[in-house]
């Protein structure tokens, strides 16, 4: 019975994704094609003559009517083909693929660190509301949430990389040594620590606040009180009954946080020289490399949609009432 409700929910939710994805594709395509600049000229290279530019235009299909370009784009998209980069003259999937793992590593680490640390500090803060620890954690999180990440990043480099030499100042690997195996992982982790922590900071602040608010709300609920009435100590009542429910909001915001993290990564990557999508985005924007930008917007959007879908599913699984709604 419960599963039946869930299955209907799952199907409905999946169907809802279709128009959204179509909307995203259309919107991005329109954005990119409404902008000035001549990609054919870009593709033909500097100093190309008119004949070469025309040849490039026809090669890229830019001489076709826009609706036809759109359907062609859609058809290629379905085959996993995002087109050819104007500036790099290689498949967009390749341009993005090279950069993707670095960004995934950075944002993934930041996501895990901020979630774990955020829930931890949130629980600590909620244990004794309005006491010094709670006040300290809440104030700190609000403060951290109000500071721009790129500013923090620069300060972190100054303090921890240049003054104390605890971390490298940038990059993802040591350029001097070609490490392999465990040493390579250690090298990357060493480079990853600072950007990931900076990126995780403001997200941690957010998770702290959500966790704390959720716990305080749940602590007052009937079932916690009745658990208390049955003789369970408050701590255990909260831990066993309130925490899982309080963590539901933490789960629901994972999807949107993925989007925030990827955007934050653009800035943090540019400060740390982290070779991820963010740097590629800035390069592509400056070079007018439309297909690459379009590909990246689609990729990030798709990630957000998927993350939202996954969290919805997870929520429905944890709390079937959501699916029944």
């Amino acid at each position: 019975m419960l599963w039946a409700v869930n299955r209907r929910y799952v199907v409905r939710r999946l169907l809802q994704v279709v128009p959204t994805v179509l909307g995203i594709v259309t919107l991005s395509f329109a954005l990119v094609h409404l902008t000035p600049g001549d990609p054919a000229r870009e593709f033909a290279g500097e100093g190309a003559d008119q004949a070469q530019i025309d040849a490039a235009r026809s090669y890229l299909g830019l001489d076709r009517p826009v609706p036809e370009q759109f359907t062609t784009y859609l058809r290629h998209l379905l085959h996993g083909d995002l087109g050819t980069s104007y500036a790099q003259r290689m498949p967009v999937t390749e341009v993005i693929g090279i950069r993707l793992s670095a960004t995934l590593l950075l944002t993934g680490t930041a996501l895990v660190v901020s979630t774990v640390a955020g829930v931890g500090f949130g629980v600590l803060a909620a244990r004794r509301p309005l006491r010094w620890l709670d006040n300290a954690v809440s104030t700190a999180s609000l403060l951290v949430y109000s500071l721009p990440a790129f500013w923090l990043a620069q300060l972190a480099i100054m303090a921890l990389a240049l003054k104390v030499h605890l971390f490298p100042a940038g990059g993802m690997t040591d350029a001097r040594e070609a490490y392999t195996g465990l040493a390579a992982a250690r090298d990357i982790a060493h480079h990853l620590a600072l950007p990931a922590l900076v990126l995780a900071l403001s997200e941690t602040a957010l998770v702290v606040r959500v966790t704390r608010a959720g716990l305080l709300q749940q602590a007052g609920q009937e079932y916690v009180r009745s658990a208390r009435a049955k003789g369970l100590p408050q701590e255990q009542a909260v831990a066993r009954h309130a925490l899982p429910n309080a963590l539901l909001p933490v789960l629901t915001i994972v999807g949107s946080r993925v989007g925030y993290l990827v955007s934050g990564a653009v800035l943090v990557e540019s400060v740390f020289g982290w070779p991820g999508l963010g740097k590629a985005l800035v390069d592509a924007a400056q070079a007018g490399d439309h297909p690459v930008i379009l590909g990246m917007v689609l990729l990030v959007s798709a990630t957000v949609v998927t993350a939202n879908l996954a969290t919805d599913m997870a929520c429905a699984w944890i709390d079937p009432r959501i699916a029944a709604r």
Partner: protein
């Protein structure tokens, strides 16, 4: 509001920033871009209250006029996103059915497209202008508000005062204007504060990438400009950074406090229950 010291502090900080922004022309009337070689990299002094940058430009003038720029963009974005968000939410919640479905898909679409990426593109292509940025951020900042308003409209729709108005023959538009909008106003207010704080950070982020409006004094541009001088001229980075932190913190506190004041229904929109769009 007396119940919430948070709201009072937040309001005070926001009012301070807004006041400075509004009176920028009086407080610091000078042309902010005057370059003066002998005055380069001067620390704060009586003549230059917040010091000067590497070109000898006065930072006080720039920080004060930067508040004007920042708050003007914030105001524009808040107006656009509030109008669009409330309208979309009301229509969606009140009409339901197909309209609701369509609006919600649009909401989801806009929410999924990374705001920051789009901003990088648009400013990169159309040139970085305050107006472009305002419209762009306005048109991408409304989905959360629309969702919350829709939820509230759904619950209000069946309340007795609405059904009463309907039986008395009031038009949909009138019901929405008279009964729904006033009820969602607190939510919109909280959201305005949340949006405002994000916009300050977004504008600064874009300026950091060199995509700010070059013809206006801007905190983000000042911080960007200060990057090579962090070790030599702390004031170049600290003062604009502090101005930004004060306004963002103020708006965040305000949002928090208002949530306390209005109760948890408005809190759905605050930091505590964010389901904000991808930035």
């Amino acid at each position: 509001m007396g119940h919430s010291p948070t709201a009072v502090v937040g309001l005070a900080m926001t009012a301070l920033v807004a006041g400075v922004a509004a009176l920028a022309g009086r407080i610091a009337p000078d042309y902010p871009f005057t370059v003066s070689t002998p005055d380069a990299l001067r620390p704060p002094s009586a003549r230059h209250l917040l010091g000067t940058d590497q070109l000898g430009r006065d930072l006080f003038t720039n920080v004060v006029q930067g508040a004007h720029t920042s708050m003007r963009i914030v105001a524009g974005v808040v107006v656009i996103s509030s109008v669009v968000g409330i309208m979309a939410g009301c229509v969606s919640g009140f009409r339901g059915g197909l309209v609701d479905d369509v609006v919600m898909r649009v909401v989801e679409t806009v929410q999924s497209v990374p705001r920051f990426f789009v901003a990088v593109l648009v400013t990169g292509w159309f040139g970085a202008g305050a107006r472009t940025m305002t419209v762009l951020l306005g048109l991408t900042s409304w989905p959360v508000l629309a969702r919350v308003v829709r939820a509230e409209t759904l619950s209000l729709r069946e309340r007795e005062f609405v059904t009463a108005a309907r039986t008395m023959g009031a038009s949909d538009l009138r019901i929405v204007a008279r009964h729904i909008v006033p009820n969602v106003a607190p939510t919109a207010l909280v959201m305005a504060a949340v949006t405002g704080s994000r916009v300050v950070l977004l504008e600064a982020g874009l300026a950091f990438l060199g995509l700010g409006d070059p013809n206006l004094a801007s905190w983000g541009a000042l911080i960007n400009n200060a990057q090579p001088y962090l070790a030599r001229a702390w004031w170049m980075s600290v003062f604009p950074g502090a101005a930004m932190a004060i306004s963002v913190l103020g708006m965040n506190l305000l949002a928090d406090g208002l949530t306390d004041v209005f109760g948890p229904s408005a809190g759905g929109a605050s930091l505590g229950g964010r389901s904000a769009p991808a930035d």
